[in-house]
């Protein structure tokens, strides 16, 4: 068959966000791929430079709707380190609780969307129904289902009353039992397995070479997790372990994410039970001394990096946000080459793209016919 250019997006039901793929398919097999992600570029970094620390937080929170807490924590953690401010332990614990709750609801959201991509709507409905329990907990703690704006440079805005802690603890056992049900379902549901197993394979050194981050990398055996490598917030004191998998395809990523769900739940329970008392905020000078920090944070999709440069004023001289999805696009482009057209949504969904975080493009063109399965050259032609 002749080569067909199939544009997918920006308006496409599979993609919850505007991305445009120009997939050049030979019959049903993908030969070449061009992504264009400039649809959700808003120019946040330029605007953040014109706002002081207090006004910058709501803007930076809205880089992405699902991992909003990640961005504000990374930003405020960086500024606090430049200022040399010591955040009270209770604030660290509350930030960790919100961070892990956000990871849980993000992973449940992803599990549902991945199932929806392959047409398994029942799991889509179930996972999102259970996600509502986490949304209720977050709403009780912070007042909003999404965009919690809990963080502030120097600590946390709202305190957790014993009632809130109690209400959160009550919901955890139900969620635990549901997560166990999903583990069995992912193993047993045959039709979903045929769509997940062996799709979008990424070997360990390919994952390293193409710079995959987060669950996408951990599913291929790459053992990177910022919470353990560069511990921040209260992760050093909490007993938890990194979930990795070896079979590197969409199925492996599903297992890693469900494993992380269980880990996060245990972490939230531990933090809620061992919540230290004390102040939740420390007064912070208005301006930050000149300095530079590479603030790394383990967002639900992977390693989020804020490079912050301050120049002694109350504003940031430069903030460079590199989001996990940006790092994963290269590996997605690699995984897609040679796959049938029907797998595009599944593989793209496998890295759980958060396009509002990124607006980058990668061009991958193997030059030779990928259908023949010849090993791809490392060079990336335009």
């Amino acid at each position: 068959m002749t080569r067909v250019v199939v544009p997918i997006g920006p308006q496409h039901p599979a993609l919850k966000e505007p991305v445009n793929f120009r997939v050049i398919a030979d019959g049903e097999r993908i030969v070449e791929l061009e992504l264009n992600l400039s649809y959700s570029h808003r120019g946040i970094e330029k605007a953040a430079e014109q706002r002081d620390f207090i006004r910058a937080l709501p803007l930076i929170e809205r880089v992405c709707g699902i991992c909003s807490h990640s961005h504000t924590t990374a930003f405020s953690k960086g500024i606090e380190e430049i200022m040399g401010v010591e955040v009270p332990p209770r604030a660290q614990y509350i930030r960790t609780i919100i961070a892990e709750l956000e990871r849980m609801h993000s992973h449940l959201l992803w599990l549902g969307v991945a199932a929806h991509e392959v047409g398994f709507n029942t799991l889509f409905m179930w996972t999102w129904r259970d996600r509502e329990a986490i949304q209720d907990t977050l709403e009780e703690m912070t007042g909003n289902r999404v965009h919690y704006i809990m963080n502030e440079v120097g600590g946390v805005r709202l305190d957790l009353s014993p009632l809130q802690v109690e209400a959160a603890l009550v919901r955890l056992p139900v969620l635990e039992e549901r997560i166990r049900a999903y583990v069995e379902m992912v193993e047993a549901e045959e039709t979903m397995l045929t769509r997940f197993r062996g799709v979008g394979c990424l070997s360990r050194d390919e994952a390293l070479c193409f710079g995959a981050v987060g669950p996408t990398a951990r599913a291929s055996g790459v053992d990177y997790d910022v919470r353990r490598d560069d511990p921040y917030l209260a992760y050093a004191e909490i007993p938890w372990n990194v979930v990795t998998d070896t079979n590197g395809d969409v199925y492996g990523r599903t297992r890693v994410r469900i494993g992380e769900l269980g880990e996060s739940l245990a972490m939230v329970r531990y933090c809620l039970e061992h919540l230290p008392d004390g102040p939740i905020r420390v007064s912070v000078p208005k301006t930050a001394p000149p300095g530079e920090i590479l603030s790394r944070y383990e967002a639900p999709r992977g390693e989020l990096v804020h490079f912050i440069r301050t120049n002694g004023t109350d504003r940031v001289e430069r903030i460079d946000i590199r989001t996990p999805t940006l790092a994963n696009w290269t590996s997605v482009a690699h995984c897609l080459i040679g796959r049938p057209l029907a797998d595009v949504p599944v593989i793209v969904a496998a890295i759980d793209p958060c396009l509002s975080c990124t607006s980058r493009i990668t061009v991958s063109n193997r030059g030779e016919d990928a259908a023949s399965g010849t090993p791809p050259r490392t060079g990336w032609e335009g």
Binding site: P13, G119, T122, E189, T191, L341, P345
Partner: protein, 324 residues
């Protein structure tokens, strides 16, 4: 039923077109309700399918530029007409008056017309998604059509007749054909699920991959008619399988008046078709969509060989007069 007036009433109103549309709306409502209950949701109200169709009929009709309007209008009508005529030969309240030797083959071929109409629509609407969807629809047709025909032809081997009504009558004296030929029954259900393009076989209309497949460019009355054709095909298909495999509306004992027979037969018909709908809806709720090449492998390797095995078994049974 020599009386033309009664025949016209039979065709137009009761077990004919009006009933088919009403029952296909009930079918769609129950289908969506069952899947919703499986997904822990409440599901739509009972009048929802009726409201959907009336609303889509009232929408503006947009022709993508450069499309061949007459054929684009005609395809949904042809699909609906094919399914309506197919439904006439399927017994609803007892043997269909229009039955003749070979109407099983006619019904089978009429039921494939909607897929061809879908292919035509996909190809004509000059939209890349629709074209890919149309091609997928026909590719799938070749995969599931062979076992589906085999599964529905095997009862003729055993019953010895080519008419749906006579197969139904034959089952009065013997066991149901679903019991005698279980593999054929299962393959027929799989084939029907694939013919109606329901998950796990809704590859042409894969919502998350190619927007809405051949349906993408349909608006207004074309969408309404095509949707009605698809739902009516669900009713006609399950009625056919109910008649051929589950004994259809025939009563084992002949009670007194014909009217009582008709009513009891009709209730049996409703029960059996709703049972088949329950199976189809549960399968739709519980499975994910498989890829076309996977369907190809499963279709040819497993389903077709199972159908051929069933044919061998039927021939052996015929030889030993087991069934008769």
């Amino acid at each position: 039923m020599a009386d033309p007036l009664l025949l016209a009433a039979y065709i137009l109103i009761f077990p004919g077109f009006l009933f088919l549309f009403a029952y296909s709306m009930v079918f769609e409502f129950l289908d969506r309700r069952i899947v919703a209950r499986m997904q822990n949701r409440v599901g739509p109200p009972f009048f929802q399918p009726f409201a959907d169709i009336v609303k889509t009929l009232g929408k503006e009709v947009i022709d993508p530029e450069g499309v061949d309007r007459p054929i684009f209008d005609a395809a949904p009508i042809v699909a609906l007409a094919a399914v309506m005529t197919a439904f006439l030969y399927v017994p609803v309240i007892g043997a269909s008056p229009l039955a003749f030797q070979g109407d099983l083959v006619l019904v089978l071929y009429l039921l494939t017309l909607p897929t061809l109409a879908l292919m035509l629509l996909g190809w004509l609407s000059r939209n890349i998604y629709a074209a890919v969807g149309g091609v997928r629809a026909v590719t799938m047709l070749f995969i599931y059509e062979v076992p589906f025909f085999l599964a529905l032809v095997m009862p003729t081997l055993m019953a010895g007749t080519w008419s749906v009504s006579e197969i139904m009558a034959w089952q009065k004296e013997h066991l149901w054909l679903a019991v005698l030929q279980p593999i054929a029954f299962v393959i027929a259900l799989i084939g029907l699920q694939a013919k109606l393009e329901r998950t796990p076989f809704d590859i042409p209309e894969a919502e998350t991959e190619i927007v809405a497949g051949p349906w993408t460019e349909l608006t207004g009355r074309r969408l309404a008619l095509m949707h009605l054709a698809n739902q009516s095909a669900a009713v006609a298909g399950s009625a056919l399988i109910a008649a051929v495999f589950l004994g259809g509306p025939a009563l084992p004992w002949a009670s007194g008046s014909a009217v009582l027979d008709a009513i009891a037969g009709f209730l049996l018909f409703l029960a059996k078709t709703l049972a088949i709908l329950l199976i189809l809806a549960t399968v739709r709720g519980a499975t994910a969509r498989i890829r076309l090449d996977q369907l190809n492998v499963i279709g040819w390797k497993y389903i077709t060989t199972a159908a051929l095995a069933q044919v061998a078994i039927v021939l052996v049974m015929n030889a030993w007069e087991v069934g008769a």
